[in-house]
Amino acid sequence: MRRLLASEFLKLRRKMIWFLIVLGPAGVIALQAVNYGLRFDYLMKNYAGDPWGYLIKNVSMLLIPALLMGMTIISSMIATLEHHTNAWKQTIALPVSRTKLYLGKFAVTTMLLLVSTVLVLAGTVALGLIFGFELQALPWDTLLIALYGAFIGALPYLAVQIWLAVTLNNQAIPLTVGISGLVLSMLMINGSSSKNWLPWKWPYLALLEPVFPVAAGLAASAVLYLLGSLHFARKDVG
């Protein structure tokens, strides 16, 4: 597995992917900096009781759409590396099981996106400190749940994107599905809580009540991942 990952990361050399992995978090943090910069006094007065909590909420509202977008784009870029010259027929003819290759694609995408969330985490803390919030008052649990609860809540979405991107030559399909999902999830942010079973709401639920979205996210992504992997393992290579 280590060599498989080394091979996958080598394929990313000189690609835009690393740039996007940094650009996304930078965008999220920069927008929050602008948000606070424009109305700093007003926000500070209204949320004086819990400045960190409010900052975390603001960051996560931007992070989630950016994360869904990232999952769509990065998984498609990772798959395009192989589709482009139909390198699948070369890779799959190597002595590696297909389920392992599938795991490799999933793992690389997940690791890249985790790098992005770590950058967002660091950026959020830095932003708070710049604003003069007290480090001792930082609610680490809230911050971690907001970021990684959302990440786990979005894993089923990633499992579907990887499956579509890897098994279809035409990347217009995973991109369309991914962006539609993103729009759908944004429309649902303020929907009634009776619709919480809808997977598109899960990433946003983490901030309010993490147990359900984390459990549901893990279960649903495991099932979707296995189905995708099984399909990939049985599929003929074009």
Partner: protein, 305 residues
């Protein structure tokens, strides 16, 4: 147990309701250079994909080194190097990086092997350039280098001379020819051109419309090519009658006179007799069924050269 490196039994692939590969029984022995021939769309690539486990047979089975590819794909593929259809590569990486992505997935291959295979296909000079800037022939060489990387016991090359210039074709042909002797490899090489395969293969399999229409040693195929002697002279009809009267076989088609190919002495006596009878002979030449026309005949005339 015979020493069959590739054996298929009733190998069939149905695509779009048609058997594009139809009950193929391939037998390729250790050390063979097996020329896998057929016109466009005969089913060569589809067959090769099934040999490598890239596609599943609709029915029938594939055995490599006597073991089932379905059950032991990963272990068997370690001993196989392949290039299917056109070459695959990562354009943004250079040749060394491309080969490294593959080497990482081949257990037990040293890093220095990358330089070795690059020099075998003469890409050392361009090894640090991004592959998207390569010519088609250079990409093809890189694909062959990738196939050789794991020092395979079985090399499967699907139209490896595609896109190569004449000197490149000769180079690759020589390389393939040296494989069994130098590295103990068995090679399966597909092509549409019998003349090309005829210069390197020891065994030949011909497919047409998914069916195997010939499989044997190259010499057997060469034996089937019916050579004739064409004699150009001033009076075909009289010569024809004379030949028959003297007990020689002859044939008159489209105003051209043919006698069957025979040893020099017999042809000499045909010529002497005709000249003595006052016939003026201007040309005596070998003609007729070349390997290529045998091939065209077997594959129903369509496709080929």
């Amino acid at each position: 147990m015979t020493d069959l490196v590739i054996e298929t039994k009733g190998l069939t692939k149905t695509l779009g309701g048609r058997n594009v590969v139809d009950k193929l029984d391939l037998r390729i022995k250790r050390g063979d250079i097996y020329g896998f021939l057929g016109p466009n769309g005969a089913g060569k690539t589809t067959t090769i994909k099934m040999l490598l486990g890239l596609a599943r047979p609709s029915s029938g089975q594939v055995r490599l080194f006597g073991r089932s590819i379905r059950k032991e794909r990963v272990a068997l593929l370690r001993k196989v190097g392949s290039l299917v259809e056109y070459p695959s590569y990562y354009g943004h990486l250079n040749a060394k990086e491309n080969l490294e992505t593959i080497r990482l997935l081949l257990p037990g291959v040293r890093r220095s092997r990358i330089d070795e295979v690059l020099s075998i296909v003469r890409l050392t000079k361009d090894a640090q350039r991004q592959v998207k800037g390569y010519s088609l022939g250079m990409k093809q060489r890189l694909g062959i280098a990738a196939a050789l990387l794991g020092e395979p016991e079985l090399l499967i090359l699907d139209e490896p001379t595609n896109g190569l210039d004449p000197s490149g074709i000769i180079e690759i042909r020589e390389l393939i020819r040296s494989m069994p002797g130098q590295y103990g490899m068995t090679v399966l090489v597909s092509s549409h051109l019998l003349t090309e395969v005829g210069q390197m293969a020891t065994e030949v399999g011909i497919v047409s419309k998914g069916k195997l229409v010939f499989q044997d040693r190259l010499e057997v195929l060469k034996g089937r090519s019916r050579q004739q002697i064409h004699i150009r002279l001033n009076d075909q009809q009289r010569a024809f009658n004379l030949l028959h009267a003297h007990g020689f076989k002859a044939e008159l088609t489209d105003g051209r006179l043919y006698v069957p190919k025979a040893d020099d002495q017999r042809i000499a006596s045909v010529v002497r007799m005709l000249v003595q009878q006052g016939i003026e002979i201007s040309r005596v030449e070998e003609e007729g069924d070349t390997l290529e026309s045998v091939f065209l005949h077997m594959t129903g005339g369509e496709g080929g050269l």
